[in-house]
Subunit: 352 residues, 2 copies
């Protein structure tokens, strides 16, 4: 593939960093992109995988279209303000399906348990899985449980995969994004990652820091009912809003222009980020979406998002352009402009 198209993702790494896996390879920053582009995708290459949207699309003989997605969850701690690994895993997979417009048909659930893990904690996670699945109207239909020796795991890792059906007429995907599209964001950013980091560091930052983990199926249905013209949806999880925008710019060879002041951030999240040395733009969200919408449908789409409880704080944050393809330009609060760049080393390991 032409290296030049992925400039944001493929800057050269020193030899030693290419030889051994580092924590940063899993954090959604540049190294994650490099591992994907240089090692994983070349080995497995095929057009469906290559689309790299939140779900893969599969066509059946009947003409029905399936969405299929997977994620492993290694978040630490397992229980955090506003959620736990079980709820996160269900919502994460439901949301990846929703980003293709699919309605979830069934989930799989696979546990890797460490010897010595408390069965009571497993029960709490299972109850949480059940509640989250009920909330999203989906069932866990298949599963697996493995156990590894003490010291060879970290309590509990979870994998969920999901299958969904894409309704007739719905066609969402990054490849449909066009110059002129409005970029909408469904709410505040950084809530999930900051809540987990604050819990991990034992910081007392007030009771308002909570993960935003929530299922987006209802919000997407509301949006698509009101505005079927939507081009693409993405959920800004690992790597945050910045990673999604940089990826769209790089892969679609488009310019992305975003107004810093338009991106909603909770005051407590902003404060915690200052304390923790984080930028909320790079912090994972688990209940937000970014929508790419033709400009003349942007108002209707924004109104639809705002009409739903999970889209109350939705905002138009920017525009897709054709100038400066491959870059994300941020118009700053003081009227300047800067190029958004993904950090090489992410400061947020094991956030999801």
């Amino acid at each position: 593939m032409p290296e030049a198209d992925f400039s944001a993702l493929t800057c050269p790494a020193p030899i030693e960093e290419r030889d051994l896996i580092m924590l940063a390879h899993g954090s959604g920053g540049r190294l994650t992109g490099q591992l994907l582009e240089r090692t994983i995708l070349p080995a497995l290459h095929n057009p469906i995988l290559g689309a790299l949207d939140d779900s893969a699309l599969l066509s059946l003989a009947s003409g029905e279209r399936l969405a299929f997605t997977t994620d492993s969850y290694v978040v630490k701690p397992l229980f955090f303000p506003g959620g736990d690994i079980g709820e996160l895993a269900v919502n994460g997979t439901v949301n990846d399906l929703s980003m293709s417009g699919a309605r979830a048909l069934g989930l799989s659930l696979a546990f890797i348990l460490e010897e010595g893990f408390a069965v009571e904690s497993l029960r709490r996670v299972l109850a949480s899985v059940r509640r989250a699945a009920d909330r999203a109207g989906v069932q866990v239909v298949t599963g697996d449980t493995k156990v590894v020796d003490r010291g060879k795991g970290d309590g509990l890792f979870v994998n969920t995969a999901g299958v969904g059906v894409v309704p007739p007429g719905v066609t969402l995907g990054s490849s449909r994004i066009r110059p002129g599209d409005a970029i909408l964001l469904s709410g505040t950013i950084g809530d999930h990652g900051v809540a987990v980091m604050a819990q991990r560091r034992g910081l007392e930052l007030g009771g308002s820091l909570r993960s935003d983990t929530q299922p987006l199926d209802g919000l997407v249905a509301t949006l698509l009912d009101a505005c079927p013209a939507v081009h693409a949806l993405r959920d800004p999880t690992r790597g945050g809003l910045a990673a999604i925008l940089a990826e769209i710019a790089a892969r679609c060879r488009l310019g992305v222009e975003v107004m810093e002041s338009a991106v909603p951030v909770n005051d407590d999240v902003r404060g915690a980020c200052e304390l923790l040395g984080l930028d909320p733009w790079f912090v994972a969200n688990e209940g937000k979406l970014v929508a790419f919408v033709p400009a003349d449908h942007a108002e209707a789409a924004l109104a639809a998002l705002r009409s739903h409880p999970y889209g109350r704080d939705a905002a138009r944050i920017g525009t897709i352009g054709s100038a400066r393809p491959g870059t994300v330009v941020v118009r700053t609060l003081v009227g300047g402009a800067r190029i958004l760049d993904l950090p090489f080393h992410e400061p947020l390991p094991r956030i999801c």
Copy 2:
């Protein structure tokens, strides 16, 4: 649920064993069954999950039927005689789909990497995943990569999930097994688990011990073409042949009678089992199937299995009865009979 129906799986465990996860909870023996029956299934209960076949079946509006399955792989070592974790993961998921008669439509692939893992080893695993997927005529269409801190994983854990389409007219499932059914086994048992254990213990047991990891889609297609009357297929992975037979007896409230002498075991596997203190009946297989077939179709089914390279050593090993429901009776080589019982503590952790 009526405890009496699951006598083989639900004998009481001492308090301390119910409080913390033990390695044996993951090895396919009684404790695995207990964890499932007492903790996991009650939390997630629904009819599709409750069927507990190798794949879940999902129905679409068009009438098409999907099979959906998942497994995590924590095998140690990652590379063993006859295969590696990548090949195992692909074949395992292809085989679980095949047991429902489904043709694989796409696989997901999720890695949990430990910080410090060699990228070169990841490349080897990826190449192996690709080869195995090509061999089974399926593609990895979606995936995920997470990284955990050094000392919180064990190099590499893999999860695969798979979606397949069940062809019209094919209906396989444990619930269809009836008294009088012949029990067919597609080949020798114990090869995978013994090869992994021998490698792990550094035993020099000659070059012939090799995992039997292989895709069973072609063998199943050959079998179902010749004999559509097959009632159910299962692949005897974790817990081995014994676990499958005990599970069928317990869940279907049927009697299972098996002739010890009819079950094929490679001489080298038998010898290694004696050395390692293992019983090949309890050892994982990764390329074998057990078929439950109406008696008057048994000969045709056996001939079909034997006509395929992966079914060369197929044998009729027993019969389903209605006497002694819930038990597996083994007719021994010396003409006696014994009740097969699942061991409480399995001696084979992390074999798949």
